[in-house]
């Protein structure tokens, strides 16, 4: 998958114009990760928004000393959005479950672009709210099922 295609197909940038996507494309870094390699670690400062181009990342969180698997993410999925909201750190760890290729937009680059283009900033924040809300609803439903089963 081409980085620009990854951006274009990512729900985070839905509604962005071709020009805005090209501008983002200039900011993208592409990184490769081997099986079992950490893509990011819980608690570290969130360095960027990561879109999975190829491969799979397991999202894990350590709570009270216990590792809990939160989700398995694949091509097109977005991780690292926690850098855009407090506490601006990765709230979980991402581990590559296979050879994985990730398109990364650094937080400071993204913020600068969104500050300069007010409409893009609005569109992005709308998309981000939808993404986080979707993750919340899925997790909330999982909690409800777990409480019933417990």
């Amino acid at each position: 998958m081409d980085p620009i295609v990854a951006l274009k197909e990512s729900p985070a940038f839905r509604g962005f114009s071709t020009e805005q996507l090209d501008q983002l494309g200039e900011l993208v870094l592409v990184r490769d990760y081997a099986l079992d390699q950490a893509v990011f670690r819980q608690g570290e400062e969130a360095f960027g928004l990561c879109i999975i181009m190829d491969g799979t990342i397991a999202l894990q969180e350590k709570v009270a000393g216990r590792l809990v698997e939160l989700a398995t993410l694949g091509p097109g999925d977005l991780v690292g959005w926690s850098g855009l909201v407090p506490p601006h750190t990765f709230t979980g760890s991402g581990v590559a479950m296979s050879k994985t290729k990730v398109a990364i937009v650094k937080m400071e680059d993204l913020r600068r672009m969104l500050d300069e283009d007010v409409h893009a900033g609005y569109v992005f924040e709308r998309n981000l709210a939808e993404l986080i809300s979707q993750r919340f609803h899925e997790t909330q439903a999982l909690l409800a099922r777990n409480i019933v089963d417990w």
Partner: protein, 148 residues
């Protein structure tokens, strides 16, 4: 009927200028609910964002026929944001846990405000993301507690 309400300290309006806060406050309708009164039901079309001014609200969900209490929300907290993001229906039933006052902003009013002012819209949505992220962490912590 719209009533004057002070939302200046609400996390949902963080970093808004006074004039922007005033524009949001002007949209607010204040409603009071008694303990155990249902504020809205899971699955209904989400008509408004609700800021809790006083009291407490329980969020409940139907999990396969069994009603589960998921969270208790306190003054300053926001519920009903699903009006602004998919699925645009309330995903839980909100029940007044302790006599409460809510400031309700109709979804169409908030959407119009955001469409008219991209900067204000961006700030509101950014704050909304922070609120939802915080609620997500709470849910993840409860899930982790159950897994122990």
């Amino acid at each position: 009927m719209a009533a004057k309400v002070d939302l200046s300290g609400a996390p949902g309006l963080a970093n808004l200028a006074s004039e922007q806060v005033r524009r949001v406050e002007d949209l607010a309708i204040v409603r009071e609910y008694q303990t155990d009164e249902v504020i809205f039901r899971e699955g209904e079309e989400a008509y408004g964002l609700c800021f809790i001014l006083s009291g407490a609200v329980k969020a409940r969900m139907d999990a396969g026929g069994r009603v589960v209490d998921l969270d208790v929300l306190k003054p300053g907290e926001l519920l009903g944001w699903s009006g602004l993001v998919p699925p645009h229906t309330f995903t839980t039933t909100a029940v007044c846990a302790q006599d409460c006052r809510l400031a309700i902003l109709k979804v169409e009013d908030v959407q119009r405000l955001m469409t008219e002012d991209d900067k204000l819209g961006r700030l509101l949505l950014h704050n909304l993301s922070a609120i939802i992220a915080d609620r997500l962490r709470r849910v993840q912590e409860r899930l982790a507690d159950l897994a122990r």
